[in-house]
Amino acid sequence: MANKRTQPVGGDEPDRWEAQLRKGALEMAALASLWQGRLYGLEIIRFLENHSQLVLAEGTIYPILSRLKDEGMLTSEWVEAEAGHPRKYYSLTDAGRLRLRLMAEAWTSFSGGVSRLLEPVLEKKENPQ
């Protein structure tokens, strides 16, 4: 774990850089998955898999949900299911909705700026000469 951190995020490690980028967006993604209504952990993971490439190890999402709940962004309840065991469903609180809205605004303006910045780089790639 420790040597992973001390290594610089450099050109020879685009995979690690990408992994960090994904993890950085995971909290927002987890909140976003609950925008339409309550879901349990596995549903959140599947939702993120279907809509993004954010989930790495499936376990990562659970500590994030636990933290968001602790911060008052989410509530949870155990619901009996036909599966024979109860499932822990998460829902957004008002504070969670507000935070997600602010994150979404910040993200959109940030990523818009970065995309404009990167336009020439991508054009070059398409037409190398």
Partner: protein, 193 residues
């Protein structure tokens, strides 16, 4: 049957590594992960090994819960022990953590020194204080044996007590506030990485 054993041994390892959490918190985590494993295996028809592998090693999963919780609880606490433990944990994670840890040590020790000076003064009035000579600072100290020789003289007298207590309390308060703020900040940055 073997799948049950595999699941149980994963959950036992998880429970073991979640040690510092309360029993209630620990069982809640284990219950949720157990439900995940069963649902995931049923839904995809995948082998339990695959489901557990996708979940990641039990000790790593537990560490993510533990670190988050340690720092989160400390950021709401005023206990120097809890705050120092959390900053120490933070210090293993990068330069920001090391900086916070050093500031915490410096802040607490200065605060304690001021408070100690206030308590030492009534018992060792001649050996604790601030010494001046010809209007210029010469020395300062607590339990200063022997004290600076005359004509250097101690200038604060018993005023040192309220002054040192105030400075000490302010330093300790400021340190506590600074650590808590740093821990909260680190939560936003670190726990996602």
């Amino acid at each position: 049957m073997t799948t049950e054993i595999q699941i149980e041994s994963y959950l036992t390892a998880l429970r073991l590594h979640l040690g510092p959490l309360t029993i209630g918190e620990r069982e809640e985590v284990v219950r949720e992960i157990a439900a995940h494993v069963r649902d995931s295996a049923e839904e995809s028809g995948a082998a339990v090994e695959t489901v557990l592998a996708r979940l990641g090693p039990a000790d790593e999963l537990a560490a993510q819960y533990r670190d988050g919780l340690l720092i989160r609880q400390a950021s709401r606490s005023i206990s120097p022990l809890k705050l120092l433990r959390a900053t120490l944990r933070l210090a293993t994670k990068g330069v920001f953590g090391i900086f916070v840890f050093c500031c915490a040590i410096l802040g607490y020790s200065s605060g304690v020194v001021f408070v100690f000076a206030a308590f030492a003064k009534p018992f060792f009035p001649a050996h604790t204080g601030l010494w001046f000579q010809d209007g210029r600072f010469v020395d300062s100290g607590i339990l200063h044996f022997p004290p600076p020789a005359p004509p250097a003289h101690e200038v604060l007298g018993m005023w040192l007590i309220p002054l040192a207590l105030t400075l000490g309390s302010l330093t300790l308060l400021l340190t506590t506030w600074a650590i808590r703020t740093s821990l909260r900040l680190s939560q936003r940055l670190q726990s996602r990485l």
